[in-house]
Symmetry: C2
């Protein structure tokens, strides 16, 4: 029974772990004016070689287009990101990090790195790699 029941609560544990990890990291990111979702958007924009459209951002982040709109709204309100009309496609925007956005990203990334290192202190490199592998296998089956 214990063996068969071993997967029953897996989603709950995944859910709770994510919730707690998010709160843990967000508590540290807050003072930098960031959050997990906001940092993720900043990271995508910082890493991309080309300016991104809203759609690119939502695809890369694995979130709904509407959710990306909300995130970018808040980033724009705080002066971290700018929407510029796409020169060829008048339906689309191109997203650009402001100087403030670049600074915020850099600081938030460092805070995130430290918080994540703290949260995963009990995992060695092999454990982390194993965890990533297992997560990827779940993602492959939830399309």
């Amino acid at each position: 029974m214990a063996v068969q029941g071993s997967s029953d609560v897996l989603i709950d544990e995944l859910y709770e772990t994510t919730n707690r990890l998010r709160q843990f990291v967000e508590g540290r990111l807050r003072e930098k004016g960031a959050s997990v979702a906001r940092l993720r958007a900043l990271r995508m924009l910082a890493r991309a070689r080309q300016p991104l459209r809203m759609r690119d951002l939502s695809d890369m982040a694995g979130i709904a287009a509407r959710t990306a709109t909300a995130i970018v709204d808040s980033l724009e309100r705080d002066g971290l990101v700018e929407r510029v009309r796409h020169p060829q496609d008048r339906r689309a925007f191109l997203l650009r990090l402001t100087d403030e956005g670049v600074r915020c990203h850099r600081e938030a990334e460092e805070v995130d790195r430290l918080a994540l290192a703290e949260a995963t202190a009990a995992l060695d490199a092999a454990d982390r790699e194993q965890l990533r592998t297992l997560l990827a296998r779940i993602r492959d089956h939830t399309v």
Copy 2:
């Protein structure tokens, strides 16, 4: 660089995996009038030997008390749960599953089990156990 960067995106992968798994499971639970959060509450109530207070529920589910209020509100609105005044402590409620709630829980539990089995099809028993162990280690460091 690849090795050092291995933990950088771990939280993003955990985040995205949870989001996708939740949507995957909720798509199947929806027709049963449930959701991941609602099923979790129903499960706690069904498994508890004693009637639970709001506080017991939020503690067991690992969520904020206010969030439990919202979940129970929705379950009560749909006639799945009842709040009964605690006979000794007039501040508290005791939560009781209705017959409809019991039926909903039973059906949702089965749907959840199947959906989870599908999502974790690429993981054998040892993988699942390993995943649970790794998640638990993260939880221990995010209190």
